[in-house]
Structure formats: C-alpha cells, structure tokens
Symmetry: C2
Subunit: 456 residues, 2 copies
C-alpha cells in the first residue's frame, strides 16, 4: 500500500465526531476503495478529550495544525466565518488541501478562498456545505458538466422543510411547529438563519455559481422567510393541487434582446402536489435540476446530521486521496507523492466553481422586480357583486393571466376570501396590480401573495 | 488553451447523434468548464452521411478508428456484445480511453474488459450504461465512496416502469399497455429484454459490483418479469397502500454466523405508495441507495433517450478531459500531455468497479431460496368457514408473520379472494407454506405471489 494520507480534523462537535466515527466504522471500505491508508493524525479541540484514540494528537492551537508537516488534508468543521477563514487561509498557504462543511464562509468569502487555493495549487472541497449528504456539488460540477443548466430548485434547509411538512400534516400553526422543531433540536434557539432563508441563501449562492459559472454573489440572493405562512394558505394550496414549500431557485433568463440574467431567490412557493419535490418531507432535502439536454434530474437525501455530513466530508477526502499522486504505475508513484508532499499538487482539474476561474461570467443577477414567477393571491373582500370582476379586470389590464380562481365561503360575516392563481408574470407588474387590488373599496385585508412554480 | 481532446464516435444511431448534437449545442459550456478544445475527429458509420460536419472524418472501418493516432477517446455507442467488444479491446490495446453506454457488454464481459484497461493504464467509463442520464455510477463510485452500502433498489428500466404506471393510471391490462409502449417506441418489437427484466439485470449487476466491491456476476441475478402482473393485483396493492413497480434490488445480508451474502434480484415488488420511488412514473428511472452512515439517498431522472444518454457519455468525456494531463502548473502541462498521448496515462484513481481490483471480494451471491422478502399473496378459495383459519395457521406454523389481511367480496359465486401481506421471510419457507396453501381443498386457483419491500 502506498503512502498514507494524514488527516487533521478541526472541531470535534457533531460533524467532527461524525467523521471520526465514519472512519472507525468504514476503514476497511475506505482502504479497499482507495488503496491507501487513511489516518487521522491530529485533531483540533479546545479541551483535551478522553474519548479520542491516544495515537491522535490533540491540539488546541488550530493554526499550528493547519500548518503541520504531519497533515495532508485539513478538515475544517468548526463553522463560523472568522477563525475558520483564518485557519483555511493558513492551511492553503501551507499547501494543504482543505475539506470544509462551511457554507456561510464559502458563500461570503468563497471567491477569495478559491482564488488563493488556485494560486497555491490546492483544492478546497465543500460537498458537505450544500444539502448535507446529497452529493449535489459533485453532481453539478462533474455529472452535469456537459449540460447547460437552465434552472434548479432546491429544498435545502431541513428545518424549514420540517416546519412546512408538519404544518400541513398536523394542521398546527407556524409558531407551534417551530417550538417543536426547537425541542427536537432541528431548530436553533434563534431560528432566524433557517426560517428567514439565510442558510438556504448561502447554499443557493454556491449552487448558482457552479450551475451558471459565475462568481459567488450571496449578497444578491433575494430572500423571503416562512414566518408569515398561515395554515389557511397551506390548506387552500392543497385544495388547488399544490403544496407550499420553502424553495431556493436559481434560474437563467434570456430577454427579448438575448441578454442573460440570473434569478437567485429563496421564498415560500406553491409547487404541484404530485411533483417529487413536493413529496420531500420532514428534514429531508432535495435538489431538482433542469438542464439541456438531460432534462430534469432530482437528488434527495439527508441535508444535515452527523452521518450525512461526515459522508460528504469523507467523499471529498476520498476524491483527494484517489487523485493525490496522479500516476498509477509504480515507477511514477514515488515521484508523484513526493511532488504532492512538497507542494500539495493536485491532479484533478475540476475547478472550484465548476468553470475555469478565468471563464467565470459576469451575467447580471436580476433585481426582485425583474423576476418572473407565478402567483397565489388571497384577497379578502366584502361579498359585493362586482368585486371579483374588479379584481380580474385589474389583473387582465396588467397582462396577468389567471390560471384558477377559488372563491371560498365567508369566514367573517359578509367577507369572502378569493384565491387566485396566476401564470408567470414579471414581479413589477404584479406589484402594480396588487396595489390596485389593495385599493379597491371592497378589499378588507392585506392581500396575501405567495409565489408559485409548476417546475415544468 | 492547452491540447485539444480528440473524440471518435463509433455508431451514429440515436445516442451517437445525441452526442454530436450535445457538443454542437454546448461547446461553449464544455470549453468554459474544461479549459480545453473538444473536437470530434472521426465517426464510425456504415454508410457515408451528408449531415455530418465535413471536417469530421467518416469511416466504416471501426477497428481502424479505434487505433487511430487522431483519436484520444473512443466513444462506443454501437451496442451489442460482439463487434463492440472487439472494438473496445482494440482501442484499449492502442492506449485509448473508452466511453461506452453498453450495459449488456459490460455486465457480461466487464471483468475482462476492465482488467485489460487496468493493464493498459486506460479507463473504460460507463456512466451511460446504467439509468441513462442519472449519474448513478459517479454517485456510487465517488460520492458514496466513504459509505458502506447496505442495499439499493432501482427502477432501472423505463419501458417496464411505463407499463406499470399506465396499468395503474388507466386501468388497462399488461398486453394493451405493452402494445401502446411499442407504438410509442418505448418498447421493442420483441420486448423480452425489457419486460422480462434482463435489461434491468444487466444494470443491477453493474450497480451491485460497485456497491459491494465484487466482480460482475450477471449470470447470478435472479430475474422475474412483469408479464404476469394483473390489474386485479395492481388494484389490491393500491387498496393496501402499496404500488407495484418492477424493481432491481442488491442487498447485503449477514447471517447469524456473521457471513455475508448478496441478494441480486429483479422482480415486481409492492412498495409503499408514499415512498418517492413509488412516485417515479412513466419512463423515468430512479435509484434509492441505503448506506452507512449517510442513510437513504435517491437519484431520479431520464433513464434513456438521446439527450440523457449523451449527457452521461459526455460527463465521462469531461471527467477524462479534466484529468488528462494531470498537473495544472504550466511547467508540467507539456510533459503530462505528452505522457498521455504516448500511453494514455490517466490521473484519476477511481477504480472501474469502485474498489481496487485486487480488493474485490468473493462474497457469495445468495440463491433465490435464501433470499428474504415480504410477500403479497392472493389466494382464491371457496367461501367456507375455516379457510382463512387454515391459511393463517399454515403461515404461522412456517414462522411467517402476517402484516395485513384483506378479504374481498366474491368475484365468482362462492369464491373469495384473500389477500395477505407478510413480513420478510426466507423464500424457501414461503415456498413450503404456499405449497401447503395450494393443497387446501378449498383453494381453487393458483396462489399469486408478489414480493413486497417497505424500503425501510
């Protein structure tokens, strides 16, 4: 067996422990698949741990580990965007490959980190950063490498999906279900990151860059949370054959002049009940990708948790292990592993963002008002003759096509909810129409709007 | 831009033409992702074609193309197991990498072909051979490389799935729907390969080898077709919360002595209605993989067709392109592409069957009688008191646990169908029990048995 691969694990929380457990459980499989010994040489942990194999060096100085001669690959699983950034930068500068699960760090500082890695001829692998154990990064960068990607739609936050699933299945309101998610450990004490879609936006920024070949632009993701979703709308959606999910979309649009623009948006969305994506329940994740010439493919699994994340982290390690020391023939093996040891050379040419760095495009990200989606509208109005005519007239005047109307029995005396589904429309047009509807004398409450996508 | 990559496409049927179209449509994306020029230099076709770019050499001598100095990668899409084998062998011996969609050839002769490729330091890539455009080979070989795979279940034949879907959705019997599938071009004039599960068994053999790390053993796949499935059973299954699909299973079993055995089987199967796999409809394919520590992941998309197959073929090409000439640094690029040109050297160490060739195991494939599955039984009996007691007593004596019983109204005078779902049981025990049930005086027709899997 050729040279061993030495891993450092920085951070011994859920994920770091998961990686250690995976290696213990599956070492035979790892060796049979890689033909190499895989050894954890160092772990970074604030306090000395008794439950770690004594042959593994424990060190609270993470920067020292990142530069250690006894480490080939640095696995960063401490999270956060400050210390983690320093450590990764340090590791790259010392010629180490890096494997990270840190979506926030990459979404916000990935351009800089990847450029540094390119300059130092090392790889920063990040399968675990998006959709946990689902190999969506590998799929999009490699398996779909011959396709032109038109759009993708992903349920990429397990907490949000758990809440939407439970609201529908149990008929309990958002606040109740959120409290349950917190009790179960699915949601943080401060759930903002999940329920406002920020976590999903981090992941979407990564997916969009590798889909369309453009720099990371997390700050341009339009983001709408699920906190305002009511049971009323969940139920009306079901009656109309749809289901409300919190979905991240990255869509390539071409306007009449042939100019391309990209929509990056995370928002509650009505999707058809019979779509596979609508049947992704609980904390599960899935990503649906539409590309040419392949068409639609979907990837489903656990988006979080120790096992799933460790699986993705170690898939990245296996990628690196299998390509370190490029040549298979014995005559070359020695010189290659030496070359690797000296300067962290990597054979595999898959670029960090799937496209060659010099080929990344500056395709503009569209503003919210330029985005095109279908809509679900709920309008509460006095049950006057003519109200429905007024509403449909406003929509028609704005060039908005109605796909379905559902008029429900009054739930307050004399007031009826009118539900309208529209075909896709530019948001700025919809904004104007909603303003006019809102101003109708018979309309009593704020018009509720939720986007709708047929995923077709 | 560094050295161009020269492709030969052998066979200009649906898939070959699909590959040409993909390259024409997406050349900009291919270049942006690979940093290389990708050129079709030669195509193999029996008769001269007018619709091919005149800069591409057309040649009816496929063996000559496979050995041509003007070709880096040979794409074999002629199909069949005779000429295709000669061509691939010839190409390998001339140091060419090979990309093929030929599941039958690999399932039956893959051990020999992969060994030859290893000896000549080239790669035979075959993503398109299983589940069309779904990147299941890459996923299992690379993305799940750190997992121990417990089992997989796949809908891996589109024709069969179309038939099962239509029978349920339209209430038409097998023969009708088969005729429609033939009219639509989904099924061949001789549909044996699809409806008897042979095509699925080819693919399952490949999936199982890369899942468990063992040589290809197509001849040991247990195979049962869908020709006997009746609407009656489709409907009873639905009433019980299940759906009948034609599924390929590869399952790792460990007996009480800790000895491992593998089940390889393709057969009609009741699976839970609410499972994503049960909602894979029409000609679509999907593979569900259960692995440790990742858990269940599912991969869904088009299992056939020009676009999907071309996508998988060209993903393999992109893998080869991205790793040909291992080093990225300019100083090394020249020597590496030279080394490649001279002897087809490949950097990427992912073994053909995912595990290192010398690490493939001889885990035994279990005989049908040793396999363990749940069962759906349909017993027609005279409506005598005591018949149900007799049947359940026989099952209970055989140690078979009943999960559900459904007694339907008589459909012939005095005769009732009794539907029984069982928990998993060793097939040999079920055989004995069914023999006894069949011999009951009150039982009128042949007992119908269909396997059942909870996918849990």
């Amino acid at each position: 067996m050729s040279k061993s691969i030495k891993l450092a694990i920085l951070g011994l929380g859920t994920v770091g422990t998961g990686v250690i457990n995976l290696i213990n459980d599956n070492l035979a499989e790892l060796k049979r698949r890689s033909g190499r010994d895989i050894i954890i040489t160092e772990v970074g942990t604030r306090r000395q741990r008794d439950d770690i194999d004594p042959t593994i060096m424990q060190n609270s100085d993470l920067m020292a580990i990142a530069a250690s001669d006894n480490v080939d690959i640095v696995i960063e699983v401490i999270g956060g965007t400050t210390l983690a950034k320093d450590i990764i930068t340090h590791a790259i500068k010392h010629g180490k490959h890096v494997v990270t699960a840190n979506k926030a760090l990459l979404a916000e500082h990935g351009n800089e980190i990847f450029a540094l890695a390119e300059a130092h001829n090392v790889h920063v692998a990040y399968e675990a950063a998006v959709a946990g154990g689902i190999p969506i990064i590998k799929v999009m960068r490699e398996a779909l490498a011959a396709n032109k990607i038109d759009w993708l739609a992903g349920i990429i936050n397990g907490t949000g999906n758990f809440i939407m699933t439970e609201m529908r299945d149990t008929g309990r309101p958002f606040a109740d279900v959120l409290a349950e998610a917190q009790a179960l450990g699915y949601a943080e004490a401060d759930p903002t990151f999940d329920v406002e879609g920020i976590d999903a936006a981090h992941k979407l920024a990564l997916l969009a860059s590798i889909a369309f070949g453009m720099p990371l632009q997390f700050d341009k993701v339009y983001c709408e949370g699920i906190t305002e979703i009511t049971l009323q709308d969940v139920n009306y959606a079901e009656q109309l054959g749809y289901r409300i999910k919190h979905v991240g979309f990255a869509v390539r649009r071409t306007n009449a002049e042939g100019e391309e623009g990209i929509e990056l948006r995370v928002h509650p969305t009505l999707i058809p009940q019979n779509a596979l994506l609508a049947n992704v329940n609980g904390v599960k994740n899935a990503v649906l990708v539409n590309s040419h010439p392949l068409g639609q493919t979907l990837y489903y699994g656990d988006g979080a948790g120790a096992g799933a994340t460790a699986s993705a982290v170690m898939a990245d390690v296996m990628d690196l292990v299998r390509v370190l020391g490029c040549e298979r023939s014995d005559s070359n093996a020695q010189s290659n592993t030496d070359a690797y040891s000296q300067k962290g050379q990597i054979g595999h040419h898959v670029p960090h963002l799937s496209f060659m760095p010099e080929q990344l495009s500056n395709t503009p990200i569209l503003r919210a008002e330029q985005m095109i989606t279908g809509y679900y509208l709920r309008v509460h109005a006095y049950d006057n003759p003519g109200v429905l005519a007024d509403i449909t007239r406003i929509l028609s005047d704005a060039g908005i096509n109605i796909d379905a109307i559902l008029q429900k029995p009054a739930h307050k005396v004399g007031q009826v909810p009118v539900i309208i589904l529209t075909l896709p429309v530019v948001e700025s047009q919809m904004n104007l129409a909603i303003e006019k509807i809102q101003n109708l004398a018979a309309v009593t409450d704020k018009v509720v709007r939720i986007r709708l996508d047929e995923l077709a």
